[in-house]
Symmetry: C4
Subunit: 191 residues, 4 copies
């Protein structure tokens, strides 16, 4: 009774989330390049979300390799993470449609904060399946996991000051999480 099916289900949900965002691109009125201009903010916010969902998929992929035994708790924490991520297409579309207005950007930041908190809860539950002295426990103390909520909060707060500052923090968190945690990769290689 391993985590395979939870992986398959999560992959399915994430694949749909990443793809239905494109359904928000309404066809332009004209047939020239100029008529595509209105799409620019929508495509930009799509790129943000594509990268974020990609990062979650990538880290999720690494995290689930550490699961020792599946239980109801892990399944529900995983569903909680998928719930917040399932709201990403809506907030992405709103952010793009509003040309990065303060409230849509703040909502985007809030949804990502809640997703990252669910991820952190899932991670902690999986880490606790391992003995206290295993080096999985160092992951829980990683600076990434501690810094992210603060940066997300800054995304939300600065949304009302300037979309550029808020967008900067969105990009910054993406860069930090871009690569999966080296320590997990090393551990898996050692096994």
């Amino acid at each position: 009774m391993k985590s395979n099916r939870m992986e398959a289900f999560s992959d399915g949900v994430l694949a749909i989330i990443i793809t239905i965002m494109v359904l928000e691109f309404k066809l332009p009125e004209g047939h020239d390049w100029k008529s595509l201009v209105y799409l620019f903010p929508k495509v930009l916010s799509y790129i943000f979300s594509f990268v974020y969902v990609g990062i979650y998929w990538n880290n999720h992929h690494h995290l689930l390799h550490m699961v020792r035994t599946m239980n109801g708790r892990l399944m529900w924490l995983n569903l909680l993470l998928l719930f917040w991520l399932s709201l990403v297409p809506f907030t992405t579309a709103w952010m793009g449609e509003s040309h990065f207005a303060p409230t849509p950007m703040a909502l985007y930041g809030i949804i990502l904060t809640l997703a990252s908190m669910s991820y952190w809860l899932l991670q902690r539950s999986i880490i606790n399946q391992h003995p206290r002295d295993s080096h999985f426990h160092t992951i829980g103390r990683s600076w990434k996991a501690k810094l992210s909520p603060i940066l997300y909060l800054l995304t939300v707060l600065t949304a009302y000051i300037s979309p550029w500052v808020s967008g900067f923090f969105i990009v910054l968190v993406a860069i930090i999480w871009f690569l999966p945690d080296r320590r997990i990769e090393e551990f898996l290689r050692e096994k």
Copy 2:
């Protein structure tokens, strides 16, 4: 010839069901918090359905581990279950859009009753693959399976009295099914 592919197909359908419900969230007119108010009943009914589909996926996951041999009967009972669940996004959207009006809530309860009856038929077929004296047969006699249809019926009937009472029974059934059946988990651990 195991149940893997039926699991994969069911996971795909459930993942799509859970995700396309979000497509019902039309973008708001304005760009402030106030313009999100209309979304509240839609999000609430989405949460209900997300939890229900999650519960079905979770229990389905446990149930399919007990399949000994696949056959046409199991496939069709599984498709029957998926058919009723595929109607959940429509009834969820109607319930949210009508602000929990009696008829949409009653329809929601009816669809869930039919889904639970299909689940029960599928469960019985799988249990009957095991010898009569195995302790799988105790599951068929579980109080959950007996209580659920009655509670669902109450959901349908009370929809015309008060949405709060009807909603209470919807939440109650969810809580009852929240955790997968301990006995199956124990059996799988013993194996």
Copy 3:
């Protein structure tokens, strides 16, 4: 290099086809039972298509267990089958929306005929991977495979006489294919 990934991809496409048909159910204007009446032909044509896609998934499941070696030919024949099936949601919606008008019903029959012909081509290619004297070759000579195109043709032709006659043939083909071919199941059990 087995057929696993072709199965996974086909399952994904079939799962999406079966689920997006529900997106055609537009929300009713009112909030009472009467306002659901307009949905009746749509739900009826959805049931037809759900059963048909279910039958294809079921038989496809059995057929792919006979694949000995994957090659480009099988992949393209499989994609051809998926192409025709991908048009089922459109024709289903048109048939329902038109209240089973002759031309939509004829188109529905044509798409199903083309899908069944692709299935037959795929089946023949897989059978030819087995030695001539194996009893797989008897499947190619099955009366089902020979009768189906004739019945589909009758579905198309009678669409202009009466929707009831045409619908009768649609239901008849469904019943014929309802159960997977016993001989394949028996062979797999013997293995």
Copy 4:
């Protein structure tokens, strides 16, 4: 830590891309054959894209069998490929809706060029995991990989001269890639 989950995720995304394109087929006003005429350019561009996504899925399938160790780089290159392919439904719909106007055709060519460049980067990363003298390295030097970008560029440029010439190059690239690389297939058979 093999490439299975990346395959599963990619299959999911490709299956959704190929299927949601059909959602662009709006229902016709009338219920006769004549009312389907407007669909012709949409169906034609759908066929193009179905074949292209099919080709990518097919080659992707072969390519991922050569992966020796998964790493972050491969995951991100794979996501880059999926990103460009996720824009195919939008450009397909625009091309069909505009009756193959120059700019939509040029955009279609550009998106396919970017997808093919991402595929080439992914292929190169996977090839470099193998020793220099293995015959995987001959694949990197294949004439297909060298010819494709030139033909795609011609698709973009000739879009403003004639849709027929541009369409000819789209079809030509499809034919070239129709069959998976024989050399990879042979190698896998030898293994």
